[in-house]
């Protein structure tokens, strides 16, 4: 990915003796952190890959056999994996879209100059500071049939949804999980987008104003394009997180009603069933899925950043 070091637009590179020496020094300086990165990331993943190529007996302790790609083949041939795959992507698509829209709106508000802005910026982060399991239990209580806050309010006002068992129905259960995630992580998206807003120079806006651009034109033609890198970053972080979702469905539905995620499937095999090989294969598949998605993001959304830059030039 990030291996192209010399950009042709910068002209041919001249390497003097000093440059080479500096490069060597740079390598030596970064070596320790590269080694640590390898130990922290590569070793556990390598081990997980090894586990995923074996099966470990649940009947006889210590018995294992090498099965090659059998665990992967079985997983990819199973209905459960593809159901979990689809459900995870549905969840990620819905929640990340909502989080980016609401996050942008929230960032724009927080960027305005008003009294108490600093306090508000801290306060909006509160949902993000709450442990997911705790917020999941809160949402569960609110949507409880007969006694929950939401169901009670809806039926008192005579609105639809008051007599629905939200966590017990397809579609509704996913809606609650998406809501819980949006509520919790929109502030995180907003914070990243706010940082992006703050680096847009005031001169750009002044120029737009002089040209007689309306507020909407300014937003569409200046703010949004310049915000794109920040939005893409927020999208990458949130998508990767959302694709690994575990705690919300685990607490709210235990995977019932079309809410079982890829990570839940891996957890069930690894922890509940102690099928170490099969579970590791599912973890690796989840990992590969997340990785492919982030590469696609960087290729396409990252490419957008360049196009915008070119247009501007």
């Amino acid at each position: 990915m990030a291996t192209r070091t010399i950009s042709p637009s910068r002209g041919p590179a001249k390497t003097s003796g000093r440059d080479r020496a500096e490069r060597k020094l740079a390598f030596r300086m970064t070596a320790p952190s590269l080694v640590i990165m390898a130990l922290v990331a590569a070793v556990p993943i390598g081990y997980a890959i090894w586990l995923s190529l074996n099966q470990y007996s649940v009947r006889t302790a210590g018995l294992s056999r090498f099965v090659g790609l059998e665990n992967y083949i079985n997983a990819l041939a199973s209905r459960e994996w593809w159901a979990a795959f689809g459900q995870t992507f549905l969840f990620a698509g819905l929640s990340v879209t909502l989080e980016l829209i609401l996050g942008t709106a929230m960032a724009l508000l927080l960027n305005l100059a008003f009294k108490g802005r600093a306090v508000l910026r801290t306060v909006v982060l509160l949902p993000y500071a709450i442990i997911t399991v705790v917020s999941a239990i809160t949402w569960q209580t609110m949507f409880q049939p007969n006694m929950g806050l939401v169901t009670n309010v809806l039926s008192t006002l005579g609105l639809p949804g008051g007599d629905v068992v939200w966590l017990g129905e397809h579609g509704y259960a996913m809606a609650v999980i998406v809501m819980a995630d949006v509520w919790k992580t929109t502030p995180f998206a907003a914070l990243i987008i706010l940082a992006g807003l703050q680096v847009i120079s005031a001169e750009t806006y002044e120029a737009a104003e002089l040209d007689g651009a309306s507020k909407w034109q300014t937003f569409v033609n200046i703010t949004l394009p310049l915000l794109r890198p920040a939005i893409v970053l927020a999208a990458i972080f949130r998508t990767m997180d959302a694709l690994r979702v575990f705690d919300l469905p685990f607490v709210l539905t235990r995977g019932a009603n079309g809410t079982e995620s890829m990570s839940m499937l891996a957890y069930t095999q690894l922890r509940e069933n102690r099928l170490v090989g099969e579970g590791s294969a599912l973890s690796i598949l989840t990992f590969l899925t997340v990785m492919v998605v982030s590469v696609i993001y960087v290729r396409f959304a990252g490419g957008n950043i360049r196009d915008v830059a070119k247009e501007e030039q």
Binding site: A41, S201, A230, M240, R274, V290, S294
Partner: protein
Amino acid sequence: MDLNRPASPLQNKATNRKALAATAIATALLLSACGGGAAPQGAEQAAAADPASGANASGAVNICGVKDASGIYKGTAEAFTKANGKVTAKYTEIGATTDEARTQIVQRLEGKSTECDLFLTDVIWTSEFASQGWLLDQTKLVEANKDRLIPSTVETTKYQDKYWASPFFTNAGLIYYQKDKVAKPETWQQLYAEAAKAPGDGYVYQGKQYEGLTVNFLEMLYSAGGEVLNDQGEVKIDSKETREVLNFMSDGLKNGSADRAVLTYNEDPARLAYESGDFGYQRNWPHVYRLLNATPLASSFGVAPLPAWEGGKASGVLGGWNLAISAHSTNQAGAVAFIDFATTPEWQKHVAMDYSQAPVNEAAYSDAAVLQKMPFATELLASVKGAKPRPISPVYPQISQAIYKNVYAVLSGTTSTEDAVKKMADEITTAKASF
């Protein structure tokens, strides 16, 4: 992308892209790295516990298990320490829920930890733990104590003709009902019919997609004469009885016998719903008796054993907790002494009187002092004696998932009974073929 750098993104396009890619990949790697899990340890020849060793025991004994909600574990450890004089026992909580405790216990056993001498084990864990060589063989000990233990509770500690734990207290489902609104149920059919009569008479049970649904389903299946595995261990769930029970349960949700909300209920939400006074019947465990007594319903609720299937007999599913000695315990004699104390008829009375749990000693149920504290002891004993264990297999977790996921699919209306029964049988067969 470096947000601290006050430069416009336009000037840093190349750096931005590379940094984005690097950040994305590094994060993906780090976040996914925790998926591995531990590799199994080497096999061990199971050693046996010596029943006579308890008499000369000394030192400290550490018992590990789930959070002590009723105080019974710590209470028993204290009483034992006081009575014994030579051995001191302490209870260590290693998990807030049953699932968490299991994970913690498995981690310690896989790592050959000597921290715990005794583990408090759920009745469904016996085969799995024993097959891994994690437990001390308690056959001689159980046989020495057998005459004071209820046979069905002893069966829960058996795997491949040996006993791997001693029963501490047992558990069986009960029906709580509102005497002012509905009749005491004799059959499930009668209960469902009665529950459908008026909006406030409904039935609540544990219908969420989890272990509790397996229990609720098997209670009916057993009373209807069905089974999951037969005595030879063959899969027998693809039967007329399974279809009957599934249709019965799903019709019950459609015609209002049971509230649809049960699809989200485990034990506590079911109890809370019942406490609101909006229901006629509730299926739950014995400990709920004490909690209901502290509510406005105290004078109006009754307790009944689980009803029979029409034309069949009453049955149930045995729950409860056993005491297993770790293969890595450094004080096995002390552990034996603790088990001896916990299973005495005298202490078993306290199990009922002080903690509202079901004793594993039959005489305790007819003791006058126990009956005063636990007036439903007779019904409870009937439930315990009629209850059968869940399928005994080292792959029980997979078997249970096959049951509760497919039962749930029928109840929530996403799968037909026919498809669910076929799938259940297939999945159980696959699980049993696990390596």
